[in-house]
């Protein structure tokens, strides 16, 4: 095993542990803290794969915007910051068995896939050049339509957010 692989396994373990803590911690704010750690672990994984753009975008969008938005949303709700009820119900073992089975099946299917045995091809030099991505975004033969559709989608999200907000104001008055 190379140093990089050891490092990757450590980061993956931390990310998974943080993800489990998100759903199992009782204090909702601690869940937000663990979520941020899990998202940061994903960013480090991107950096390990030498896709710097996605690593920083992960931090900018997920930690910088979505995590803060989630914390704002938590403060919006009624104050149930400490969950005192039981975390498991009686049927907890059914999904556990199902998930374990699904995982085993996935491992079984994927291990027969030939892609696991082959060595990854070295990335071409141009892959790290972000301008290729930019050119493809506005190329009619590539992603020009999704690019514009993304804009319309964001517009829809904005209008939806404002609609929800104005509704809330009406209720308050």
């Amino acid at each position: 095993m190379t140093i990089q692989q050891v490092f990757f396994l450590a980061v993956a373990a931390i990310t998974l542990f943080a993800a489990v803590m998100v759903v199992s911690t009782r204090r909702i704010m601690h869940a937000a803290l663990w979520l941020i750690l899990a998202l940061f672990g994903v960013a480090v994984s991107f950096a390990l794969l030498e896709t710097g753009f996605f690593a920083v975008v992960q931090v900018v969008v997920y930690i910088g915007a979505i995590a803060i938005l989630i914390i704002f949303a938590v403060m919006l709700t009624r104050q149930v910051f400490l969950d005192v009820g039981p975390q498991l119900n009686r049927g907890w073992w059914i999904p556990a068995v199902l998930v374990a089975g699904l995982y085993a099946a996935l491992v079984g299917v994927l291990s027969t896939w030939s892609g696991f045995q082959t060595q990854a091809a070295a990335l071409p030099e141009a892959a790290s050049d972000l301008s290729q991505f930019g050119l493809a975004l506005v190329d009619v033969n590539a992603y020009a339509v999704p690019f514009e559709v993304a804009s319309v989608l964001l517009l829809g999200a904005l209008v939806g957010a404002i609609f929800v907000a104005s509704d809330r104001k009406g209720v308050e008055r």
Binding site: G52, A55, V56, V59, V60, G64
Partner: protein, 407 residues
């Protein structure tokens, strides 16, 4: 390569040869040097704050017709050291019921979020931490981590005022991040790269000349991101108790202070890198140390300007602060990006830098005039109701909402 041309790399290579001669593997030696370099840069960044505090207190003192620190050492130079020793021996008071992990993490994240930026800044043509291909986005990501620090401070300290202050601060910081990031598109567009070193190298003509209005927007948003006057409603001493850092004491409070000063200087540094040509200047390519001096002169010019603004401009109200951002800076920055992109693309086939410069300057001037006209009209519209006779307000008991909403 001699020592005086490029001392940092000279010492680095000398150290590497020493390590290798001791029998250390070259790879390991390189990693040792890398860790050493990162440590030295980080320590220098933090020690630099001590000087900044003295410098700023001196300028603000003069502006307010005082002398500033002048007792300890020549020109009061050792005053920050005395303050530092005092704050090191002060007690930490942790409030009852504080959420310990975020409470203690917050000052660390606040400093780290600013210090991280220094890792990608090109100090000279050969002196820089790392020249990553996504440097601009890395700076934005570092800013996001600083915001998290403030949020943690708010909800870790078990105090309503701290929480309220943190939420107001974060609302301000995320709002001003938008026009800041929009204006950063313009240096990226001109240089065709997200790497800070490439952006500096491509500035044969300073970008502040090609895009003066976006540069001004960037400067304003940087001041707001630092949370300095006139945008210091994060910790307005004369109005609210203290904002998000009310429950902090000793060096934990000091770290927020360090983060603010370091961020103020880093903001000036970023302005110099993005719009004033960074280390570029006569003979900077041959003598990297000279480039470092140029960068420091430019940075201090910008820093001095921001301190002057801090000393002269009164504080905004929170609704004014939000209006400036969302109703002026954000639309203006978006339109400026569009205008710059279209005008520059139209005059690019001519191939003459002078034509581009003149065309972009004219476009900026036109946009500035239109903006000022808009502001004048809206200010007039707002003034008109003031002179009209107002209806008399009579106190009337209103049904209280069941849920009390602060703010």
């Amino acid at each position: 390569m001699t020592f005086w041309n490029d001392p940092v790399n000279f010492i680095g290579q000398w150290l590497q040869s020493v390590l290798v001669s001791w029998g250390v593997a070259p790879d390991v030696a390189q990693i040792i040097l890398l860790v050493l370099g990162a440590g030295i840069l980080g320590v220098l960044g933090l020690v630099w704050v001590i000087f900044l505090i003295w410098y700023e207190r001196k300028i603000i003192g003069r502006m307010q017709d005082r002398l500033g620190p002048n007792r300890v050492g020549p020109w009061g130079l050792f005053q920050p050291f005395a303050d530092m020793f005092k704050i090191f021996t002060k007690e930490y008071i942790t409030p009852d019921g504080a959420d310990v992990v975020p409470y203690n993490l917050a000052p660390v994240l606040a400093v780290a979020g600013t210090l991280m930026i220094w890792g990608v800044i090109p100090f000279a043509s050969t002196i820089f931490g790392a020249d990553i291909s996504v440097g601009v986005l890395f700076i934005i990501a570092a800013g996001a981590i600083g915001e998290l620090g403030i949020l943690f401070a708010g909800w870790g300290s078990n105090n309503k005022y701290a929480l309220l202050g943190a939420f107001r601060s974060v609302a301000q910081l995320i709002s001003y991040e938008i026009p800041m990031v929009i204006t950063l598109l313009i240096p990226v567009m001109f240089s065709g790269s997200l790497s800070l070193q490439t952006i500096v190298q491509s500035q044969s003509l300073w970008y502040v000349l090609l895009a003066p209005v976006p540069a001004l927007i960037f400067l304003i948003t940087q001041i707001a991101e630092v949370g300095r006057a006139p945008f210091d409603l994060i910790e307005a001493e004369s109005e609210i108790v203290a904002g998000f850092n009310i429950e902090y004491s000793g060096l934990k409070f000091g770290m927020f202070f360090v983060a603010e000063f370091l961020h103020a200087f880093t903001a000036a540094l970023l302005f110099a890198v993005f719009f004033l040509g960074g280390w570029r200047g006569p003979f900077a390519e041959q003598f990297p140390l000279l480039g470092f001096v140029y960068l420091w002169i430019k940075t201090f010019a910008v820093y001095w300007f921001t301190v002057m603004i801090r000393g002269t401009v009164p504080r905004f109200r929170i609704d004014q602060m939000m209006d400036i951002n969302w109703k002026m800076l954000t639309p203006l920055a978006l339109v400026m990006v569009l205008v710059t992109a279209v005008v520059h693309a139209l005059v690019r086939p001519i191939g003459s830098p002078v034509v581009s410069l003149v065309a972009l300057l004219v476009a900026n001037l036109v946009m500035l005039v239109i903006t000022l006209q808009f502001i004048r009209n809206s200010a007039r519209a707002r003034r008109r109701p003031m002179v009209a006779p107002s209806t008399v307000v009579v106190a009337r008991p209103e049904p209280q909402p069941t849920q009390s909403n602060p703010e």
